[in-house]
Symmetry: C2
Subunit: 333 residues, 2 copies
């Protein structure tokens, strides 16, 4: 075990993405909520796969995508999540380690298969997710190396973990440990329906001071404060006394902290191919900036850059070295 300082330690549901393209009609016929993440059981996962067109398999998992992005910026990332020791789990481990991210959680020898997110990409590039959590939900506090958490500058937690008791306990243990060291503790709200399921608990985490940085998109922050008014939601977030980072797709991001507000534009792109991972990679860029002492504006620009890279190809793992991309765009870390 290596306890060199870690820039960003991510915790989340370890998933492999199974992506297929479909027309809007498919979402309607399947009764899917476009753009959202819906949890599904194993039986449905199998029947859905049977109805999906030719698919691409690529490692995913929201926080995993984020720490891989942090690693691609040349920083030290580590990840805590649970897969099974099956071919998809082995692929997940290969892919996360291939980017230099530390990963040492023992894969499950039995029980449910490695978790999978079945992602339907419509012609507009929007992704709609149906997730079978599988082994990822078995992540338990025992899997969490306390020294690893204490060695992290930033601990990044995925709201999705709240869906299952064991994963949620691991999340809470990590937040407490990080809070006890000098680490920052960031939470991504993950999905508006996830916020809907756990609104009170997420607000409790913030108000108990266990979490000091919130990542959210427009829908998630409006869901958190149950308002249709983004401005009102941003002011409510500001009033919590946390660092709030809110993405607005092509309208760029807004960062609120105390009386200060920072706005960064989206990075110009040619064409949206697949939005999977846009929020995850925005967080990667922002966290990479934060870990290296950049100001919030530059951090938000780094987030926009990483998000732009990811939405121009299928899958939520960068295809170029983000450190190089940052340097080419005057944003070297």
């Amino acid at each position: 075990m290596n306890y060199e300082p870690i820039d960003v330690l991510g915790l989340g549901n370890a998933l492999v993405d199974i992506l297929a393209h479909a027309e809007e009609d498919f979402l309607i016929a399947e009764g899917m909520r476009k753009g959202a993440m819906t949890l599904i059981e194993e039986d449905f996962a199998e029947s859905l796969y049977g109805r999906m067109s030719s698919a691409t398999i690529i490692s995913g998992g929201s926080a995993a995508n984020t720490v891989v992005g942090v690693g691609s910026f040349g920083l030290k990332g580590a990840y805590v999540g649970k897969v099974k020791d099956d071919p998809l789990g082995q692929a997940f481990i290969h892919d996360i380690r291939a980017t230099g991210v530390g990963f040492s959680v023992e894969p499950a020898a039995d029980g449910p298969a490695t978790g999978r997110s079945f992602i339907i990409i419509t012609p507009d590039g929007q992704r709609t997710m149906n997730t079978y959590l599988g082994a990822s939900q078995l992540l338990s506090p025992i899997d969490l190396d306390e020294e690893l958490v204490r060695s992290a500058r930033i601990v990044y937690l995925e709201g999705y973990m709240w869906d299952r008791p064991a994963a949620k306990e691991t999340f809470q243990k990590a937040a407490r440990l990080a809070h006890g060291s000098d680490a920052r503790v960031a939470l991504t709200l993950s999905d508006p329906f996830c916020v809907d399921r756990f609104r009170v608990e997420f607000l409790d985490l913030i108000r108990a001071g266990l979490v000091d940085t919130i990542f959210a998109n427009r829908d998630e922050i409006r869901s958190l404060y149950q308002t249709a008014d983004l401005h009102a939601a941003l002011e409510a977030l500001r009033a919590e006394g946390v660092l709030g980072v809110v993405t607005r797709s092509e309208e760029g991001s807004i960062v609120v902290e105390g009386g200060a507000t920072f706005e960064a534009p989206a990075f110009p792109i040619d064409r949206v191919v697949d939005t999977t991972g846009a929020g995850d990679l925005f967080a990667a860029g922002f966290l990479a900036g934060m870990a290296t002492g950049a100001g919030h504006l530059k951090s938000a620009e780094l987030g926009a850059l990483a998000a732009a890279e990811i939405i121009q190809h299928a899958g939520a793992r960068p295809q170029v070295r983000l450190a190089l991309l940052a340097a080419q765009n005057g944003l070297a870390l």
Copy 2:
């Protein structure tokens, strides 16, 4: 078993593609021949995978890509190739059937794993392949349903099959059966080094009249006739009395048949993302045209259209319905 007429029956090495991005340096360090297909053994496959960056898994196999393309044009395709009954093999079967292509070869219950092609994509979009044949090389004449072959209008054979005795015998059996019915028999030369390994045998197939249509790119046809002069190679091909279809990347394709020559331009594109499957999908478009009685020029235009679609994203399986794309471009079948 369904013996409705099949437009195109493809035979080939059934492979799953494992794609990763890398700089040119990686190819040099690994001693890889850029743009070529090199056969590797299982041990090397595993160690290479360990050195590859985060990877994407997509069904592949040259002739399989082609018949999937034919299916995407709305025609009836069927495929004969061998996978193992393991997760990658199951994914291969899912993906080929998801496009409506008939597939009924029994997967191998034991023996080597499903074959894999490790594909390195360099920043110029070029693909370099290292293929572990695995279960694909076990395809044997027993796997070939004679009635299925007799029900096909066109039988499309992959030169790569010549690399292993059992697969080669299956190829020969299919060619003989098709020759005995009224089917056309097309051969793709697959790769210049593949041609180098089997030049005499490929020429024998042509001269014995077992094969009446040849698909090749510039390098392959020059390799077949051992000349650096493309014009000389094309004239040699013309003299064989076959239909010769030669692709030249962005310079478009040339079709030779007796005294006639047809030239079709490449289809304009924004950016080459990944050339994997360009030749396979060109063949799909050409065969779709041929099967529906289109002239050679329109067939070549359909080939260019399908190739353009495939090189603008990762992987060698179409992401849109090619029938729709054809209709949108004035090339409805």
